[in-house]
């Protein structure tokens, strides 16, 4: 699904030169759930921008769903983001003036889908994250966990190749974060490729594979033999079932 080969990214020139990625290679196959970890300055954010097709590498290749997307122009890049990447941000990044349904529809609008097709796909995605009845709510009428689930619905609505999360639980309390992780695990079990960029070990513990970066290179790449099951943890918490289970 993702194949990054010898990717470098250098910011600036001369004395102010910063090497963010130093010839990094990474393969992620379909249906994987990978955590990308590392301290700040390790190149983790740069790698996320690269995977998300937001930035262009200085050198190296990037194949996404068998397409070379490392060196394409801005317009094509926007198309790739629209069709293949489902972004989930730490601060949700919903458009405040739009309803939940309209937010979920937005990528489909840029996709060029007609009104009825958009509604149908967006409604399906909202139902998938357990917010089928909240489509007409605006983001400020929803809780943080609900907002993040709307953002996840927006990311999955057009069935992208990968879900790319940037600290997706960073702005949530532990319980809601757990629910969001449970949702990611479910989506992964349904066959979606999930990449989470995080510095949170607990998030990483829920992934099948953990990649650690330092100084723009991968320093460790291990498969979690015993990954945590977010749903099971939720069941153990004080209120059995949790919100996700209830809503579904």
């Amino acid at each position: 699904m993702i194949s990054i080969r010898n990717m470098t990214k250098v910011y600036g020139t001369g004395e102010t030169k910063v090497v963010a990625l130093a010839g990094l290679s990474l393969e992620v196959t379909e249906s994987e759930m990978v955590a990308i970890m590392g301290p700040s300055g390790s190149g983790k954010s740069t790698l996320m921008n690269m995977i998300g097709c937001l930035d262009r590498p200085t050198a190296g290749q990037y194949f996404l769903a068998d397409q070379e997307v490392g060196a394409i122009d801005d317009n094509r890049r926007a198309e790739v983001r629209n069709q293949h990447i489902g972004f989930i941000f730490q601060t949700f990044n919903l458009l405040p003036k739009l309803t939940a349904l309209q937010n979920v529809e937005t990528p489909l609008v840029y996709r060029g889908f007609g009104m009825s097709r958009r509604h149908k796909l967006a409604q399906e995605a909202l139902e998938r994250v357990g917010l089928g009845g909240r489509g007409h709510h605006r983001p400020n009428q929803l809780s943080g966990g609900q907002q993040q689930r709307v953002a996840i619905a927006r990311a999955i609505a057009s069935h992208p190749s990968i879900l790319l999360g940037d600290e997706p639980t960073g702005a949530l309390d532990s319980r809601t974060g757990q629910e969001v992780l449970a949702l990611f695990q479910e989506l992964n079990e349904e066959g979606r490729t999930v990449v989470l960029v995080t510095h949170d070990e607990r998030v990483a513990a829920h992934c099948k594979r953990v990649v650690r970066l330092s100084d723009g290179l991968i320093v460790s790449d291990v498969n979690n033999t015993e990954r945590l099951d977010a749903r099971a943890e939720l069941a153990r918490m004080a209120l059995p079932g949790g919100e996700v289970a209830k809503a579904r």
Binding site: N82, Y110, G112
Partner: protein, 393 residues
């Protein structure tokens, strides 16, 4: 993969209604600009309509002959010669005017314009008598002090309902006898009363004023084509007489209309140009607000780009927003301009004509302002780097 125009409008509309006060203030510049263009050009157009109707109200197919300087004179004896060389002349009427003379009959004295003409007046001016009859050729040649009154003057001098026929009044130290009253010509533009006038034989008026020449001569022909021929013949006649083609001005009504029209057109353009400046300022206001809007919505732009908006999608969104602002402002401005034109015409008694061309022009202009001043902010928005934009609060 086209982010359709409809979607741009929808998105832009959400942005606009989300901040109503700012939207209104932004549009205000364009509203005032367009309203000013509409109202001011309507005054210019009104002036044109007024001038045209005043000229044509004097009668049709008329030619005015006037000396340009002291050395050139129109004399009594020219008339038969002119008729001989220009057979197209239907009527020839010497005209003398004496503005605002004190006239006294039985009651209080009144100030009235006095016009001297000849027996052809009714035919030349295309007017009708209400009572009595116009003075005769005999009256003119004998310089008889007889007068025809406008209806307003008749009432002012002799009272409502009383017959002025056979009555006398005094002006310039002489006594005149009323022989007729003209039918009303109605109120002219700017509330000017066209019926407040006294008409006397020009010979009698010339003598009272001590004139020994004809100040101006009015010729009437059958048609506009005849007028053109006669203008040339009369011009040639006086050019030969004074060895100077410019000594006497011979101007047909059509020529006069042309001159007046070109003058009022310049007037209209000038007013429109002045008003356009405020429209331009309104456009700068739009640009200003759009730039603020782009800065404020940097994060939104970042989100949209991250989820697949292309440059042109973002460009279109902000351009459409600027266009909606300017076009809505333009439409409101047209309405206010039309109201303003009505107001001007009501207060000043001046006709204000809102033409479809001025509406179209200012509408197009406001649209152009939207595109022109919305383009730079839209380009700025579309060129934002999504990573940078997402980092912004």
């Amino acid at each position: 993969m086209i982010f359709t125009l409809v979607e741009s409008i929808r998105v832009a509309w959400l942005g606009i209604v989300g901040n109503k006060l700012r939207t209104l203030l932004t549009m205000l510049g364009v509203i005032i600009g367009v309203a000013a263009v509409i109202a001011l050009t309507s005054v210019g157009q009104g002036a044109q309509v007024q001038a045209t109707s005043q000229i044509t109200a004097l009668g049709s197919n008329l030619i005015t002959v006037m000396p340009r300087g002291n050395g050139y004179r129109i004399e009594e004896k020219d008339l038969p010669e002119l008729r001989a060389i220009a057979p197209g002349i239907l009527y020839a009427m010497p005209t003398v005017t004496a503005g605002q003379q004190t006239v006294k009959a039985g009651g209080d004295p009144v100030e009235v314009d006095i016009e001297g003409g000849n027996a052809d007046f009714l035919a030349v001016r295309e007017r009708q008598m209400a009572t009595g009859s116009w003075y005769t050729e005999q009256d003119v040649t004998s310089r008889r002090r007889v007068a025809v009154l406008g209806t307003t003057t008749a009432t002012n001098l002799f009272g409502e309902g009383a017959s002025p026929l056979g009555q006398t009044f005094r002006v310039l130290g002489q006594s005149f006898t009323v022989v007729g009253v003209l039918e009303s010509a109605g109120t002219g533009f700017m509330g000017q009363d066209q019926d407040d006038r006294i008409y006397v034989p020009y010979t009698a008026l010339s003598r009272l004023m001590g004139l020994n020449r004809i100040p101006s001569l009015i010729l009437k022909t059958r048609s506009g084509d005849d007028s053109a021929v006669v203008v040339q013949q009369v011009t040639d006649y006086y050019a030969a007489k004074f060895r100077n083609p410019d000594g006497i001005r011979v101007q047909s009504q059509d020529q006069l209309l042309e001159t007046v029209n070109s003058m009022t057109q310049i007037f209209t353009l000038l007013l429109g140009a002045i008003a356009s400046i405020s429209l331009l300022v309104g456009g700068i206001g739009i640009m200003n607000i759009m730039l603020v809007s782009v800065t404020e919505r940097t994060r939104e732009i970042g989100i949209r780009k991250a989820i697949g908006a292309k440059k042109r999608d973002v460009l279109l969104q902000f351009l459409v927003e600027a266009l909606i602002l300017s076009v809505t402002g333009g439409i409101i401005g047209i309405l206010f301009g039309a109201l303003g034109a009505r107001g001007i015409s009501a207060v000043l008694g001046f006709p204000a004509v809102v033409t479809s061309s001025s509406v179209m022009l200012s509408f197009t202009f406001s649209m152009a302002v939207g595109v022109l001043f919305g383009f730079y902010p839209a380009v700025r928005a579309s060129n934002l780097d999504p990573i940078e934009a997402l980092r912004r609060d």
